[in-house]
Symmetry: none
Subunit: 410 residues, 2 copies
């Protein structure tokens, strides 16, 4: 069974609000095993909404509309459905009585336009709205299902979960779409894609792989469709094992196992504490390590030595070395300094040129060093992009160096 | 001129990410005076992307596509445009050479698939991507403009603002829509709206004011429409003067004058250097100060003392005070410690409870302190939200405290 989502509202087209309802509905449809093939947003215009509905029911079996069910003149989703399904609107007297009773209960006069919410395309069913005034609609037209839900996110969600999804799950019987994200560090998107190429070719047709790169990591999303949760999760396990075999230690973890969480877990397992010495990153390595609740169990602190003087005084870097502040030797001395001055088991250091101006080295040149019970390691990396990109990539590269050190991969 | 936006990515349909790019493009098109009539999201499927493009160019003059321009097998927007415009893809050798050079510069082997990013539908133009690898495209087909931008939000935004909007504005001619953002700190969105209420009522009809809150600041966007740049910019000047008069020292600056830039400018004017002492923020205050190129002119560094021991040893906070690490006294001692240990003119400190677990104080309790030539100041703030929100708000509140200190407002 395939579906499309249509969100109604001029404010969406103007970018005044994001179309978060479409994402919520898309996620719920996937859970129900319904293939969502398109999202559309249109303005509060009866003709354009009707056109979008007519096009959608040519392509798919299920259309879920959100928005345009309110009482005011600009709410025209009811009229648009009636037009697309070529049938008149009829006032549902039971719904109308409910709306009248609601106003009486709150002792307010009812503006007549509220009764528009009782209008239903002929043959359609009304979906009760337990937390708002706008009822939803279900119209079956030429074997297609047209659902209309309110645009208010909380009301939409409730009707989606209590009416639409149970109904579609019954109709779809069985098929489940699930996905899992594998996080990879230290490889470019294209290198990951190349390494996984053979896997992509061999994978069962119901399993797909997609890549999303950013912030110094590549997220590999495995998606599969199967009859039932158990086979679906088995297919994901198989695909994840294939990805891990192909990428080895570059795999950081799955789901929300980020670099900082992986590093925190590895430090915890060894009972080691961490301190950082930062230059070009200005504090962002510590800032990222401490996004994890409970980081105080292994993270002691950082010495951010942005000036050469502070590299010498606070970290004990030999002034002779500071002639070339962006160098492997300075990174190593900073890591050792972090370890001794902070009094921790492992020191992690970064020095480099973030730009925009070149210093003693070209923009993007970064030296990273770790010092700890397993000795010292230092790496030079060349990072692309503008100042903030270079800094974010330097943070990720530093954490990944530490991760590989803790895993005894380097 | 009318437009549609097409966002490409299966992750959008599955609701794994929200379609924020469509909102950004919609907002920019509106600013350029272009009527956006539909947003569509489709998956990474060449046939379906091509169908969406073919339908859109039947309806409107301009189609802006985002996503699907990466180097991997699932990036098929180039192929879809070629199919919709019924023309073959040709490899642009200049772009290909640029991609090869980029990999050589960073000393990495180039997976062959990267050259797919140099493929251009015949007759199309390449749009330079200054901050990423995926170039954009512009194809003119039967009098319609088909723009394709990367899906990475920062790259998309840059190409949108530097290429698409200027071009469309030129084509649209006539009415100029301009806007200016006034940044405000230390006030809630509703307090700003209330203070500006009278201004809003008095403003000429062509001038509108909108508020956007986030990250500890409120951005007041003034938008005006006029025939020609000079009257438009005069109307903006008038409105800005009104906002400044109503909000006083809470105004940080206009445009890209962020808190960290304002602080940097004020430090520079006084010839004072800065050092930070951070606890709950883990390094993020220094990280934010150093987003500004040239920050080394006034920023010396930070001591991030996440553990109590490090607050004592590295910052010299009296161990007796550390019985209550989240307190005004500890914040003051940290600011003094930053000043003396880093050897700078001004010390800025933050200590508090980011959550999720309560410590000696409720989640969101934060103490901020400044110490400098004008003496010491300390403030307690109660910040709302979850861990990362509390930390981001603490960074903004600390920088704003320092800003007001430097302006001699406190």
């Amino acid at each position: 069974m395939r579906a499309e989502v249509i969100a109604v509202g001029t404010e969406l087209l103007l970018g005044q609000i994001e179309n978060s309802n479409a994402a919520v509905i898309g996620e719920a449809l996937a859970r129900a095993g319904v293939d969502c093939v398109r999202h559309t947003a249109v303005g509060d215009n009866e003709e354009r909404i009707a056109a979008a509905i007519s096009e959608a029911i040519e392509r798919v079996e299920v259309v879920v509309i959100t928005g345009g069910l309110g009482p005011t003149q600009d709410d025209v989703t009811r009229e648009a459905i009636a037009r697309a399904a070529a049938r008149p609107l009829r006032r549902d007297e039971l719904v109308a009585a409910g709306i009248r009773a609601r106003f009486e209960r709150f002792g307010r006069a009812m503006p007549e336009m509220n009764l528009r919410q009782a209008d239903v395309p002929e043959g359609g069913a009304v979906i009760d709205n337990p937390i708002g005034t706008a009822p939803g609609l279900l119209v079956e037209h030429r074997g297609r299902l047209i659902w209309a839900l309110p645009g208010v996110p909380s009301e939409m969600r409730r009707m989606l979960e209590e009416s639409v999804i149970p109904d579609l799950t019954r109709r779809a019987r069985g098929a489940t779409i699930v996905s899992r994200v594998v996080r990879v560090a230290g490889m470019s998107e294209s290198a990951v894609a190349e390494a996984l190429g053979p896997l992509w070719v061999r994978a069962p047709k119901a399993t797909t792989i997609a890549f999303l790169a950013g912030g110094g990591e590549v997220r590999v999303r495995i998606t599969t469709k199967a009859l039932g949760e158990t086979p679906a999760s088995g297919a994901l396990d198989d695909a994840e094992a294939g990805v891990r075999a192909a990428l080895g230690a570059a795999v950081v973890g799955v789901g929300d196992e980020t670099l900082e969480r992986a590093v925190g877990r590895l430090l915890g397992e060894r009972g080691w504490s961490l301190g950082c010495a930062e230059s070009l990153t200005g504090g962002l390595i510590g800032g990222r390590m401490t996004t994890v609740p409970g980081a105080s169990g292994y993270f002691r602190g950082s010495i951010v030595a942005y000036s050469a003087a502070m590299k010498g005084e606070a970290l004990g870097v030999d002034p002779a070395l500071l002639q070339r502040p962006v160098s492997a030797e300075v990174a190593e001395a900073m890591a050792r300094g972090a370890r001794s001055r902070i009094g921790c088991d492992v020191g992690l250091a970064a020095t480099g040129v973030a730009g925009p101006a070149e210093q003693s080295a070209p923009v993007g040149t970064v030296f990273l060093a770790v010092d700890g019970p397993r000795g010292g390691r230092v790496r030079e990396v060349r990072l692309p992009g503008e100042r903030e990109t270079v800094r974010a990539l330097a943070v990720a590269a530093a954490l990944n160096l530490l991760r590989l050190y803790l895993m005894e991969e380097i």
